[in-house]
Symmetry: C2
Subunit: 371 residues, 2 copies
Amino acid sequence: MTTAPRFQIVAHSGDARRGLLRTPHGLVETPAFMPVATYGALRGVGFSELSALGAQIALANAFHLHERPGASVIEAAGGLHGFTGWRGPWLTDSGGFQIASLAKRATVREQGVNFRSPLDGAKRELTPERAIAIQEALGADIAMVLDQVAPVEPGDQLRAQAVMERSLRWAERCKRAWRGLPGRALFGIVQGGAHSGLRRQSARATVALGFDGYAHGGLGLGETRAERSALVAETHAQLPVETPRYLMGLGRPEDLLAAIATGVDLFDCVVPTRHARHGLLFSDDGPLNIKNARYREDSTRPPDRDCDCSVCARHSRAFLRHLFLIGEPLGPSLASLHNLRYTLRLMQRARAAISAGRFETLHAELAARNA
Amino acid sequence: MTTAPRFQIVAHSGDARRGLLRTPHGLVETPAFMPVATYGALRGVGFSELSALGAQIALANAFHLHERPGASVIEAAGGLHGFTGWRGPWLTDSGGFQIASLAKRATVREQGVNFRSPLDGAKRELTPERAIAIQEALGADIAMVLDQVAPVEPGDQLRAQAVMERSLRWAERCKRAWRGLPGRALFGIVQGGAHSGLRRQSARATVALGFDGYAHGGLGLGETRAERSALVAETHAQLPVETPRYLMGLGRPEDLLAAIATGVDLFDCVVPTRHARHGLLFSDDGPLNIKNARYREDSTRPPDRDCDCSVCARHSRAFLRHLFLIGEPLGPSLASLHNLRYTLRLMQRARAAISAGRFETLHAELAARNA
């Protein structure tokens, strides 16, 4: 009996790979994009629409959900699957990143993070053991270790090393605390900032601990896309081939394609819905700023003529622009639907291209159109 | 050849009646509720969901749409049907009510209304002729005459009479300006405040002008439900039987049922979506305040166990409460979906009860549960 989800690679195209990830709540075809439902809900998009958009797994944030409504409320409702109405697989992030960026006066000690709740100002402590207990209460199909996320000045390699090493010790405690119910997975996180040597070291030590999957943490914070691809590829060389690889927090179409080219399997990002709220609609030719005056009378063309989403099937650029201009919340909602569908369809196209052995062609074509 | 939509009564139950209204964009079964899309969009609900909710006709506001994006933009896009993506029937309100309540320094003269645009402060004039031209440009299946909506002190019958008589002269000008494309309908509006004699007089004169349907205007402004029912019934005695009757701006479930009992066929109201935004969810037992602390762990029951909407099928009270507490716009969206479905299903239930000759039983049952 194994507690690991079965992950199987079914096709390659260069370093890009297509796989199947088995979870207790269904199969996930990879490369996969996980829409972000921080508090258990997507911004402006209902779960009844998510399957139709092509999503097979969603992401929630354990830290935020434990603040509201509380892990015990969700556990009593049958976990995230029962509480939210999304009965497909859930990956939960542990919340280290959110604590560092949101909470007031967070103090990181070896034991864990002490902070003031952004909600009510009360004192809270999050330890690796607690992060695991919360995620198990939430019923996560895939849980993440608690890592230390700390600002490190560029060039301060000693500090970067200290942060990376503490994350490793926390990862070990997370693994020890993990009960590992059947089929549930715990992923480790590779740290080390933009330091290639540190990331290699982190990857080797994380693999030595042994996890069901491995994430790239702390990227997308200033490095160029080429630098990131190099760091990701070097890490991949340290990872067991037949385990899922997850690049945390990146979601622009061009970032997704570049990462898939290096062999990443899983993604999550708020960019599709955040850009949507600002009126930026994804297309193969780059984002369309729907609020632009040039779309005022553009009433025959959909936002993206290549898109098969319900918004592009029904609405024109002029109508969507009108919704944004009058401040109607339906505007961001419809734009989010489109951007999520664009992103999830991009994954479908990537998977098909990998199966056909022509991922690099797709990547190059889209990069040229979007240049 | 007739320009009037065919309206046919297919069943009676007491004074309640079931009918079929034929429009150039489809049939409408009455009694019917028209969801309000003031600016051509429902608040937080997409048109792709509206048919599934059971809506057969939507309402937009000519005044607001002419401010943004402008009637010419919509006309160039093929009218509201082409511009908004809702290809079913549209009724447009002329906007007299909105000008009186929204615009700064509106001055009503015999010629029309002069006001400052609430959008840019520019001087505008709306005349009966202009109100018709705008609605024709919007491609309305059913247009409304421009009426004078003015605050009248209770007891000031002279002023009420003057306002009513001016509305009649405007109605006549509207009728003259109306081109009456095939199948399009123009409805008159009965005024007279809470004065039964004035309303009767207004009804007779409006019928003498001859319209394709008749609306009750200026109600829901303080009179009791019993007073309103009496005023509505007296007006009905003046109207031709085989024309649609429309009660403007009322939409609480108990108001809808009381009006159907007197023979009203059409309704519109922002109440279902406005209450939804405040977390009030309709049910046969009265509205549920979903933000109430008692629902914190109510994770097994849907908002309304009798409802067949996608929200009640998927989500618990605890989850909806959570969405409202975190301020996620999806909360009001889902609540709006539910309230619209509740209202539209109430119309379906009313129609079925009328066909079965038992509308009064349904009315009494629901009044007792909701007491």
